[in-house]
């Protein structure tokens, strides 16, 4: 066990066990649609439920599902690793519909379900606001509606969308998030507007999952180049389940090109690596490192920041066995920062008492 008591777990995933649990939170038209149109599930293809990564074997129930209720989450994560708080990022595919009214209804229902069935049942839980990116006005409305509940600590979007996340039409969402002290959490996953690689559809799920880190690279390039961080200097962006070790190489490349090509984006008046170290954070699982402890230590040093990593179990995804949430090769001082100091510095609402 190498987890500090009161550690803040920044990425856990409540599972929607059945679409029917959302019925009490939907308007009549969508309740009828679930039945009348045969909408049996909105599970995202980014996480095939039976795929090994989607849930650790010892966390699955008799139906093969994991993390279906807060009692299980408490037993398997909060109590086991003495978490002080955990942030629920629900990955049910409510952002995927092409019908923006449908996306609005289902994201709203999901947020209400999370508040009632999870946050109300364990005072250690916090959550992210899931929003319909299809319609910026709807997205801002949902941020405003949920932000009143201080247990919502972040706005959640997927890594792959219709347009890159820096694009200006999305900025009202960032303005609302900044105003409410909510970081933008970008989580692995796709809304399937484009193939999961820029070269088309891969054959294997392994490629699909690995390609998530390419999306995070493109999103950072977009957010920096469009000027989001300059426009919203108090906004934090958290990359969730993004992997970690791709970041230094990306920043070296990006910052080099910025030095050569900065006249194209004159509003970006600092090197991208500085901007990212100031305003971007990453969760630690899955930590994509080899076995060799000295290589792990080198790879972490390449980040050149003790502030940038946030502790996360990625429960119930199968990223590690037993209790190895934090891999070997990370110093004790850094561990303490990753588990407590950095999450508190990132999520201003975590410092508040539970309501």
């Amino acid at each position: 066990m190498n987890v500090t008591a009161q550690a803040i777990d920044c990425d856990v995933h409540p599972t929607v066990p059945d679409i029917k649990v959302l019925l009490p939170h939907l308007d009549e038209i969508w309740r009828e649609s679930i039945e009348g149109r045969g909408i049996s599930s909105l599970e995202s293809a980014s996480y095939p439920p039976k795929a090994p990564i989607s849930a650790r074997p010892d966390w699955r129930n008799g139906n093969g599902l994991a993390a279906t209720n807060p009692a299980k989450l408490a037993e398997q994560v909060l109590d086991r690793w003495q978490a002080g708080l955990a942030i629920c990022n629900c990955l049910y595919g409510v952002q995927l519909p092409f019908n923006e009214d449908m996306a609005k209804a289902f994201t709203r229902a999901l947020n209400d379900w999370i508040a009632k069935e999870w946050l109300d049942r364990d005072p250690r839980l916090r959550a992210s606001i899931v929003i319909p990116l299809q319609n910026v006005e709807y997205a801002v409305d949902e941020v405003e509606r949920c932000a009143a509940d201080r247990r919502f600590v972040q706005v959640l979007v997927l890594a792959m969308n219709e347009t890159p996340l820096g694009r200006r039409h999305l900025w009202p969402i960032y303005a609302a998030a900044e105003r409410h002290g909510l970081p933008i959490g970008i989580h692995a996953g796709s809304s399937f507007r484009h193939p999961v690689t820029s070269l088309g559809w891969p054959s294997y799920y392994l490629e699909d999952y690995v390609s998530q880190s390419q999306a995070f690279q493109s999103q950072l390039a977009s957010l920096v180049c469009e000027g989001v961080f300059a426009k919203f200097p108090n906004l934090k962006v958290v990359l969730l389940e993004s992997g970690v070790t791709w970041l230094p190489g990306f920043l070296w490349r990006f910052s080099k090109f910025w030095r050569g090509l900065r006249t194209e984006i004159p509003w970006v008046d600092r090197a991208p690596d500085e901007i990212v170290r100031d305003q971007v954070r990453l969760t630690i699982q899955p930590l994509d490192v080899p076995q060799e402890v000295d290589v792990v230590a080198r790879a972490i040093e390449h980040l050149r920041s003790d502030d940038i990593l946030l502790y996360a179990s990625d429960y119930p995804h199968w990223q590690f066995d037993e209790d190895a949430v934090i891999p070997e090769g990370i110093s004790a001082i850094l561990k303490r920062k990753i588990q407590i100091d950095n999450p508190l510095a990132t999520y201003s609402r975590l410092k508040e008492h539970a309501t």
């Binding site: 507007r193 070269l199 088309g200 891969p202 054959s203 390609s211 180049c225 194209e264 994509d288 790879a299």
Partner: protein
């Protein structure tokens, strides 16, 4: 600058410099001798049709005209890279280059929507490299340009050039219309292995898909950073589809793609392969094993780290035998061989990158 160049000329000679990425440029008219009347008429009438919106130019305007050094425009009015004398003055003679591999980017027909036209253009561009360049200067090596969206036509072109030592490798662009590991491209790998030629994959081209997996970016700088991401997808595909199990002698050279992303990609692939390996039983080894064995990288544009030792870590993880020097002449981000490599590299490693690795890979004497 001139004084400095005068001083280093002997060093180039001593190192036997091999430059794996230079860009000679043809005009359309230069290719006329090897195009049929039909294709000449087609070209004149319909022009090049790539998978993007413009008749001329690019979806993202480059940083300079022709993405070229401002001083690389010849006095004769030709395009940068079109004049051997200027290339001698600015690169080959100046640095004492022993061999340079030509990777013509356009007009070569690569990525054309019309597959037969693509094949005709590739043939012409290959003839032009030999007649217009290699026959005039034996330091120059040609690339077998192939119409890569058509595997069988590519095989024909590779077989036509097999055994001809004037060709150093088969050339593809990185943004193919499907992931490169897909079976439609396997005839290219088979023919390259038969011919004993590595495959050089140079960044650019247009896949026809959005340039990121989250849609189209806005800026050229995003296109430039994105090359690393699409190359990650391409490398992943080659490994995961089992290409190297089927073609164990296949060698891939990544050109102008950077390389600092490569070790992390190998770690990421290994980590998730351990969980998902029942999906890919055709892989007999960890993904990073294939990466280390089958891939070479070129230096330009090399990532620049704030701490010099971090770049050395990355080079060490990739392998000192796998890194090849590239200048990218005559493009704007040209790397001067005198200044390109970290000063802290010892002479042995410097020599490997400048010369020995490329000579071993390509079989240059």
């Amino acid at each position: 600058m001139n004084i400095q160049h005068q001083r280093i000329r002997p060093q180039g000679k001593k190192l036997g410099l091999v430059d794996v990425d230079i860009h000679p440029k043809s005009s359309i008219e230069d290719l006329r001798p090897w195009l049929s009347n039909h294709w000449w008429h087609y070209l004149q009438t319909y022009g090049s049709r790539h998978r993007h919106g413009y008749v001329k130019g690019f979806p993202f305007p480059k940083s300079q005209p022709q993405a070229a050094r401002r001083d690389a425009w010849p006095d004769n009015g030709g395009l940068p890279g079109s004049d051997l004398d200027l290339m001698n003055e600015q690169l080959l003679d100046l640095y004492g280059v022993e061999y340079a591999i030509m990777n013509p980017l356009s007009p070569t027909g690569q990525g054309e929507q019309n597959a037969d036209f693509s094949a005709a253009m590739a043939f012409a561009a290959n003839e032009w490299q030999i007649e217009g360049w290699v026959k005039r200067d034996k330091r120059l090596k040609a690339s077998v340009i192939v119409p890569y969206e058509d595997g069988e036509a590519s095989r024909v072109e590779i077989r036509r050039r097999a055994g001809n030592k004037d060709f150093a490798h088969v050339l593809l662009l990185s943004r193919t219309s499907e992931l490169l590991g897909k079976k439609r491209y396997w005839p290219i790998f088979e023919a390259a292995c038969e011919a004993g030629l590595p495959i050089g994959i140079h960044v650019f081209g247009y896949s026809g898909w959005a340039m990121t997996n989250s849609g189209w970016p806005s800026f050229y700088i995003e296109e430039m950073t994105e090359h690393a991401a699409s190359c990650q997808a391409m490398v992943t595909s080659l490994i995961v589809e089992g290409v190297f199990e089927h073609f164990p002698s296949l060698k891939i050279v990544l050109i102008e793609a950077g390389f600092a992303w490569l070790p992390a990609l190998g770690w990421r692939l290994d980590k998730h392969w351990k969980r998902l390996r029942d999906e890919v039983p055709h892989l007999k080894r960890a993904p990073s094993d294939y990466l280390r064995e089958h891939f070479w990288v070129s230096t330009q544009p090399m990532e620049e780290t704030e701490k010099p030792e971090h770049l050395l870590d990355v080079m060490d993880w990739i392998g000192w035998d796998k890194i090849l020097f590239a200048s990218d002449y005559p493009h704007w981000d040209f790397d001067d061989p005198v200044l390109a490599l970290p000063p802290s590299l010892d002479e042995t490693r410097r020599r490997k990158i400048f010369s020995d690795n490329a000579k071993a890979l390509y079989g240059f004497a």
